[in-house]
């Protein structure tokens, strides 16, 4: 065979192999983590692990509930802050803003996405924590060290801004101009058009954007670790500290090999995190692919 053709065929095989490898990484990760967390699943039932609040690794009690609730609280606060701000910004940028404003704003929002999470953490510690401790908590007549669900939520909200805005802008762009014009020509105001036509048409995509934001917030580690306070208790208000799942994993890497079953428990926590995030991501991506197809 010709040498050039041989090279071509060999390259094809090699590239195909790498492509399959890249496509399977997700599964390999899930299987790897499952293998490592089997020892603990063998002696404890899953429901006990998930719904027990007692976390005493030395007594072999691994209840993940405080951490799962911590994650849910922090993520919830972040989403409540982020959704209105992001949607209004996305609507403004896509429907109202003149071209040059959009051209200037988008790179800045992308820049926000590029800032490393530790830097967000530093900012949270230096700005948000004192703010909560000295102003917000006294305002509500309570005491807070500042390291709280609220601090984690605020920092996370800023971290998910770029994702939600970026994806929503893409979605708004898929809404055809003709239906906007049809609505305007029937006498609807601009805001009515946006409310009843654009947003309604873009709804699945907006939800997908939010879901992607939620999954990012759920898995974010360093920033939350630095500001959320890390007390293994189910929080009962936003001014109390929380201990989200990713923070638990990152905080205990040092001692996890010296306590029996501890590493297994932490890798199970990783597996839970992975599965939750995968679930969210798969849903969001499927919706986005549908949205993309619907305009073709």
């Amino acid at each position: 065979m010709d040498k050039r053709l041989l090279k071509d065929v060999l390259a094809e095989r090699f590239m195909l192999l790498l492509t399959i490898f890249a496509g399977l990484i997700v599964f390999v990760m899930a299987i790897g983590l499952y293998q490592r967390s089997r020892p603990i699943l063998a002696i404890k039932s899953l429901s006990e692990l998930l719904f027990s609040t007692s976390w005493h690794p030395l007594r072999k009690e691994f209840g993940f509930l405080p951490f799962i609730m911590g994650s849910l609280w922090v993520t919830g606060v972040a989403v409540i802050i982020a959704i209105p701000l992001c949607l209004l910004t996305a609507i403004f940028l896509s429907e109202y803003a003149p071209r040059y404003v959009r051209e200037w704003t988008k790179p800045l929002i992308d820049l926000l996405a590029g800032i490393p999470s530790v830097v967000y953490g530093v900012w949270g510690v230096l700005v948000i924590i004192p703010l909560i401790k000295d102003y917000i908590a006294p305002f509500f007549g309570t005491f807070s060290s500042g390291y709280s669900v609220l601090a984690g939520g605020i920092v996370l909200a800023i971290m998910v801004f770029p994702i939600i805005i970026h994806v929503s802008l893409e979605v708004f762009r898929t809404v055809p101009y003709e239906i906007r014009e049809a609505s305007l020509s029937l006498g609807a105001t601009k805001w009515q058009t946006i409310k009843h036509v654009v947003i309604r048409k873009a709804m699945p995509g907006i939800i997908a954007a939010i879901v992607l934001g939620v999954s990012r917030a759920f898995g974010e580690t360093m920033a939350v670790l630095m500001v959320a306070g890390n007390v293994a208790k189910v929080p009962s208000s936003v001014l109390e500290p929380a201990y989200p799942l990713p923070a638990l994993i990152a905080n205990n890497y040092g001692e996890m090999l010296s306590v029996p079953l501890y590493d297994s428990a932490l890798l199970l926590a990783c597996l839970i995190l992975l599965l939750v995030v995968l679930f969210f991501n798969v849903i969001a991506r499927v919706v986005l692919i549908r949205v993309e197809r619907s305009i073709k």
């Binding site: 990760m29 790179p107 700005v127």
Partner: protein, 269 residues
Amino acid sequence: MIASTLIILSSLVLILTTVIVKGVPAMNLAMITQTPKGGFYLGKEGGILNAIVGSLYLATGATFLAILISLPVVLYLNVYAKKSSRIITFTRFSLDVLWGVPSIVYGAFGFTIMLFFGLRGSLLGGIIAVALLVLPIMTRAMDEVIRMVPKELLEASYSLGATRLETALKVVVRQALPGILTAVLIAFGRGIGDAASVIFTAGFSDFIPYSLLRPAATLPLAIFFQLGTPFPEVQDRAYASALILTVIILIISIASRILTRRFTRHVVK
């Protein structure tokens, strides 16, 4: 609506000012030319050279490893694979999903691989974990630009008798080169800033790593560990690290923007 846009933009400004206000007074020549003296957590003398060099080694190694995998994958998807093949949809979908996986999971997974091979926390371990982390980002970014290479160009190359490999390397890669570089830069920026994936895998040390099997300090972890000490001198090292890291990210983001602009100017539409 304008107000919410302003709130979002001002959060960016606030973060950058905080980093600059805290970081600039902490900067001096010793900071960037010396390693910490007397332990990074307690010693009050010295700088963060260990973390700067460690981070550059780590991000460069990881980016390089990721290019070795993602470039062939992208070329396969766009040049070799048949247009409607399942493997294209599957790989793209899987990489999109992988993009969303939190970095701590990569760290933990990297750690289990390292245990499997009997490795300790080392530069090599960190490189593997970060390479996995940036792989989906780099691949999808490259995929987007290579997809834009006009099909006519490929056909012209085939009709001259070039094989698919020659077309891929000499035509497609050259046409998309600025875009590919942008993808590499984005991945580098993401890799250098990530802490959660290296916390298990790269370890931390006061010294500049001289081999792949030595633990390496990284800027994000230098920030994280040194911010937690009660000594202002040590905290200064954290602020300086934050400033350097942010400046690196800013430079990368501006460079990639310039490259993108240059790239889109030549795209045949």
